[in-house]
Amino acid sequence: MKNKILLFIIIFLGFILQTCVEPFEPVIDKYDNLLVIDGSISNFPGPYIVNISRSYPYNEKRPEMVHSANVKIIDDSGNKYILSENESKKGTYETDSNFQAQIGVGYKLQVITPEKNTYESEIEKIKTPMEIDDIYYSLETRYNIEKEIDIIGAQIFLDTHDPENNTRYYAWEYDETWKFGVPFSSPKFYDKTYCFNSYKPKGLIIGTSENLIKDEIKRFPITFVGANTPKLRFKYSILIKQYSLSEHAYQYYKYLKSVNETGGSLFDKTPTSIYGNMHNINDLNEPVLGLFQVSGVSEKRIFIEKKDFDEYFFVEPGFRWCKFEYSDTADTNKTDSLLGFAYIIIDTTTGGQINFTKDSACFDCTQTGTNVVPDFWEE
């Protein structure tokens, strides 16, 4: 409701009243220096990673990592698995590669900082992961607020369910991969005509069936892929990872989203502090940020062929800037000087006019992607 109102204000009133959104970077002099513990464990093979850092001032760029902490994962039968600090990424702690968490087993995280403060999470069980039943899409039109145009594309949906009605709280993340081609293919770069790109947005998508009579998630919108991007030009693939969360973790992400991913209207909730499941065992009132996420995971991939979208491509999406420069007569010196780093067409019908572009991204796809075919790719 609240986001809808904001959308209403921006679109409708914006059209009439010139609503305006501008970047705003206030100087915030207050700063809370807090411990941040960010880790997760699942039934998928490790190594599992725990990042330990400190919160940093609003007007700064990078966190300070916490080195030399003593980090352990302890299971419900008391077995301890020590995490070692990554030599090249300080503050990042990893489990041994032969440790894999098991479904139905409870785990907790223990962190002892260099100051000898001990932080622990509660023991949480790895829930049984549910299979993703289906991933599918439908053609939809969306209005893009920033570009102020209508965009046609694929709205991707997901179905899943738990016959036992035990899961209830879900989270998803996805990883997109697509094949793309450059507008000017050249024999010299023939292996660089088609490439692959991928994108993985940060953050989780969450959903619940808590208000439903059955633990079923149907037609859950995951993402919208616009036909104005190169993603759907040749072939597109999406891999969705599904997490079975505890109710507590779900609430945590829900609050986190409401504080960090909405905003702008007076109908948004007042932002508040959000703490996860890590506590200083000697001082329960010490605020600790972050979450130790214990969840069951499953994943599913689908491919989307270009055929559904052919009619919507007029210009090679993503390469609109690729244009030729012209040179009136064939100047061998010039041709020579361009060889190797420009794409040249010599038009013999007009007595050797040279059409060329120096923008290598227009003829060499490895400039913006990779020509290594991913191992999951199906042609």
Binding site: M1, K4, I5, L7, F8, I10, F12, L13, I16, L17, Q18, T19, C20, V21, E22, P23, F24, P26, I28, K30, D32, V36, N51, S53, S55, Y56, P57, Y58, P63, T141, Y143, D150, I151, K202, G203, L204, L212, I213, K214, K218, R219, Y255, S258, V259, N260, T262, G263, G264, S265, L266, F267, D268, K269, T270, P271, T272, S273, I274, L289, L291
Partner: protein, 927 residues
């Protein structure tokens, strides 16, 4: 009598002249200082007329031979004239208005006093006297029971009783028969006065005898009536509109009221004045106008509701013809629910709230609907960029019964359809509202009125989810005069607010959700006027609340939504109240009021017993108590004292003080900055005690330039117990354990409000400055039940500095120009105190609430009003209003927010809603 026949014509003319001619007062003592002995009579008259207030009426032929004889100087005019006329057949008569009437061979008796003297002394002049006023009666005077321009009240037999006589009556508008509230009734000689009440009714007790009573009301022509009071009686007055002031902005009540009245913290605005003020979207808006008054704040443009003296939005009792309105806005706050065409005026009580009002802590915003015109049919309407309006009114029985019906509807849905944007293809946002009112005066003693209001909003974005919400309000009142001294108004009041959400975009999760609150009230208010020094109001009310906090039902076969229904909540609130406005002396008056309210939360219901030594969460429930239907679950109540006093320090200045306590049993739960249509109302129950507020206020009032400029300084301090707060991130809708997310805290607010108003003249308006502070505190043993470490922190609507300048320049009868300037401190906002990274995503950490402020707010609006031409023979009278909102195009910040995007970076944004000047044209017509 025949011999006087010609004379009578002269006199009628003279009387007419007397009324019309008014001269500037210079000397009206009747004492002539210069010596005019032996002057010709005509010269004498010229001189006296030019130097004093006296006016002479005579026929030249009669008196050109008279020579003035003045024996000493100074001497009284009366003496001089009687000396001069001593040996002539001429007589003179000096009336109450300093008119000197010369008659030939004939005595005008001062019937006001002489008549009875004569009767008593059994002189034989009776016949002549009666003859005298018999022939000067004009047809018009006769109709009004006047003699010689004088109204005789009561049977002359009772003329010499020792007690004071009680005069009562109703002051109405001449053109429409609408009662005038707050009209002044004033007897200058006695220094006595009173004010007509909410029904236009007044009562004043006077010594028997001759009086000159002045009736006045802003925007209406003063009316002076000479009365001869023999006994108790009725005097109804109609005041005529002062046409040349039509376009004036007249801010508060009547001229005298500011200094004279007992009220502190009262603002009153009439619709015609509200219409002057530049509007934001071409729509005249009483709520947006109220926000321009000192002590009234809003969290942002287009936010619904308002905050009075540091109180939350739900602490305002918003009444439309006595019926409470639960949602005051259309389209999330861009428009208010009050249709300007049927609104008569509003009164806003910020302190010193009369005892008859209760149930909310911060203010009473009392909006009155017009009565239909009792005399003739008429209508008006208009078109603004968003809405079309039409109102019809007229008599049903001439002078007895009338109706008014009005409707307003947006055509924004039509605009939305024109916007070719994908997300708006199946979008809609529209509203309408309808008012109807009926009045019937059976006789002098009984009258009835019925007022109905209905509003509906519909909102849909991209055929996804539809929201609609509606208000229904109605009031039926019966007024009965038990005697001249006491009357009662008995009202049945109904109000309902409901919303409905339909979500069908995903058939598997299709549902609809309903919420409603129903309010039924019976109220009796009596006004009793025992004598001149007391005005007593008393009565009682009984309110029944039925709240349905929500139910959710699946739609269609595929829907997996589970049916969910929260128990309805029933409760009763009642109160008895009395207040007495006591005049202790001419200088000192007090209004002492007392209200006792009580509240009963009724079953059926399940009440959980929580462990007192733990935070209140579902995990710590000890026991469940089940209450049957209508069993009392919890009782609250207590006395509420209301007290105000006024001390006049001079004829044009006074000081006032007030104290009031208010109890609030119904609360709106809203954890957002502004009211959202889906916020819910919650009655006090076993867990939620009533909010109790105390306010102390003090004010100094001074008028200048014969009361045309009013100045005031008011200070107040307010403390509130048991205000409601929320644990972070909580949801209210369909929450079965709402008590586990509510917090109880303290509120305090204080401020100074300075106002300078010029109410009449070609240039009028006001300047107000407010300094205020509003803070809340939520403390607890438990960390999760504390906000800001349990310390006081600024409330969302704490805006310390607020300057408003509203002015209106009347260029001519047809053209006027209005200007509105507002500056205020930015509202408090919560900024993140740190960033941190979880799952490679930059996130924000917030702790202390409202520590920062959004940039200061500054806006300047202009409007230009053109009245149609002034030809009287026209089908309709039309007017145009051109408004520019935010002339400078300043991008006032509506909100500041921070978003962590999909790339994992945090960005800050500021949103301005009216980021450019907004031009609107509104066309209005009247027929």
């Amino acid at each position: 009598m025949k011999k006087d026949y010609t004379c009578s014509i002269v006199f009628i003319l003279l009387i007419t002249l007397l009324i019309q001619l008014k001269t500037n007062a210079q000397n009206n003592s009747g004492i002539i200082y210069e010596n005019y002995d032996s002057l010709s009579y005509l010269k004498f008259i010229d001189t006296v007329e030019s130097q004093t207030k006296f006016k002479f009426f005579y026929i030249e032929d009669w008196i050109d031979t008279i020579i003035i004889s003045q024996k000493k100087s100074p001497d009284s005019l009366k003496k001089i004239l009687s000396n001069s006329f001593q040996n002539s057949k001429f007589q003179f008569y000096i009336d109450w208005d300093n008119n000197v009437i010369i008659t030939n061979n004939y005595i005008i008796n001062d019937i006001l006093s002489e008549y009875f003297k004569n009767r008593q002394s059994q002189t034989d002049k009776d016949e002549e006297v009666i003859g005298t006023y018999a022939f000067i009666e004009s047809a018009d005077d006769k109709k009004n029971g006047k003699h010689n321009g004088e109204i005789i009240i009561g049977n002359p037999v009772n003329r010499y009783k020792n007690t004071e006589a009680i005069i009562s009556g109703t002051i109405t508008e001449l053109e429409t028969g609408q009662p005038i509230i707050g009209g002044v009734i004033y007897i200058k000689e006695l220094g006595l006065g009173t004010i007509s009440d909410i029904n236009g009714y007044y009562v004043i007790s006077l010594p028997r005898g001759k009086h000159t009573i002045l009736f006045k009301y802003v925007g209406r022509r003063d009316k002076t009536e000479n009365v001869l009071v023999n006994d108790n009686g009725n005097l109804d007055i109609e005041l005529e509109e002062e046409i040349y002031q039509l376009r004036d902005v007249v801010i508060t009540a009547e001229k005298e009221h500011n200094v004279e009245g007992l009220q502190l913290g009262l603002n009153k605005l009439e619709i015609k004045n509200i219409k002057q003020i530049p509007s934001s979207l071409g729509e005249v808006d009483v709520v947006k106008t109220a926000i321009l008054l000192p002590g009234v704040q809003t969290v942002g443009e287009g936010a619904s509701g308002f905050n009075v003296r540091g109180g939350s939005t739900d602490q305002n009792l918003i009444l439309l013809d006595e019926s409470p309105i639960f949602n005051t806005s259309h389209m999330f706050g861009f428009f208010s629910v009050f249709n300007p065409d049927v609104i008569k005026d509003f009164k806003l009580y910020k302190s010193g709230v009369p005892a008859k009002y209760g149930g909310r802590i911060s203010s009473v915003f009392d909006v009155a609907v017009k009565n239909g015109n009792k005399k003739e049919f008429g209508g008006n309407g208009g078109i603004s960029p968003f809405t079309g309006r039409l109102t019809l009114e007229g008599p049903i029985l001439n002078n007895k019964a009338s109706f008014i019906v009005s409707g307003r509807r947006t055509y924004s849905d039509w605009i939305l359809k024109r916007i070719e944007k994908a997300n708006l293809y199946n979008s809609s946002a529209k509203f309408y509202d309808v008012n109807a009112k009926f009045n019937y005066d059976f006789d002098n003693k009984n009258s009835i009125s019925a007022s109905i209001y209905h509003s509906k909003d519909f909102f849909q974005l991209n055929s996804d989810t539809t929201y609609n919400y509606q208000n229904i309000n109605s009031t039926v009142s019966y007024k009965h005069f038990f005697s001249k001294k006491i009357y009662g108004v008995f009202s049945g009041i109904y109000s309902r607010y409901a919303y409905h959400i339909d979500h069908e975009s995903n058939p598997y999760e299709a549902f609809n959700l309903n919420y409603d609150i129903e309010y039924k009230e019976f109220k009796s208010v009596f006004a009793y006027f025992p004598n001149i020094n007391h005005t007593v109001n008393f009565g009682f009310n009984l309110i029944k609340y039925e709240l349905n906090p929500g139910n959710m039902t699946p739609i269609g076969d595929k829907s997996l939504i589970g049916e969910k229904e929260l128990d309805s909540e029933n409760s009763i609130e009642n109160a008895i109240f009395i207040n007495d406005e006591i005049k202790i002396s001419n200088k000192l008056s007090i209004d002492a009021g007392f209200r006792f309210s009580s509240f009963f939360a009724l079953g059926p219901g399940e009440i959980y017993d929580y462990n007192n030594n733990t935070p209140r969460t579902t995990a710590y429930r000890l026991d469940t108590l089940i209450y049957d239907k209508n069993k009392i679950i919890k009782t609250y109540g207590g006395p509420e004292f209301r007290f105000s006093t006024r001390l006049k320090t001079s004829p044009t200045s006074s000081i006032k003080a007030s104290y009031n306590r208010m109890r609030q049993y119904l609360h709106m739960l809203s954890n957002t900055t502004a009211i959202s249509p889906t916020d819910i109302w919650k009655a006090s129950d076993a867990y939620i005690p009533p909010q109790v507020g105390d306010q102390y206020a003090f004010g100094v009032f001074k008028n200048f330039l014969s009361n045309t400029v009013e100045t005031s300084v008011e200070v107040y301090y307010k403390s509130i117990k048991d205000i409601i707060g929320y644990k972070g991130g909580s949801d209210f809708l369909l929450n079965e354990n709402i008590e586990t997310i509510l917090l109880s805290g303290l509120g305090k607010a204080y401020g100074v409000e300075i106002m300078i108003k010029k109410k009449t003249g070609r240039l009028n308006g006001w300047i107000s400055y407010t300094y205020s502070s509003s803070q809340n505190k939520f403390d607890s043993k438990y960390l999760e039940e504390r906000i800001n470490d349990g310390e006081f922190y600024p409330s969302d609507y704490d805006k310390p500095h607020d300057l408003t300048i509203v002015s209106n320049l009347r260029y001519s009868r047809r053209f006027s120009f209005s200007n509105n300037f507002t500056y205020s401190t930015g509202r408090p906002v919560t900024y993140p105190v740190a960033k941190y990274i979880v799952q490679e995503k930059e996130l924000l950490h917030y702790t202390l609430r409202n520590e920062y402020r959004i940039p200061n707010y500054l806006r300047w609006d202009l409007s230009f009003n053109i009245e149609g031409n002034l030809k009287s023979q026209k089908l309709a009278h039309s007017s145009w209003a051109f408004s520019v909102y935010n002339v400078t195009g300043r991008k006032n910040v509506y909100s500041v927010y921070f978003v962590s995007n999909a790339k994992g970076n945090v960005n800050g944004y500021k949103l301005s809603i009216f980021a450019r000047p907004i031009f609107t044209i509104t066309y209005n017509f009247k027929f």
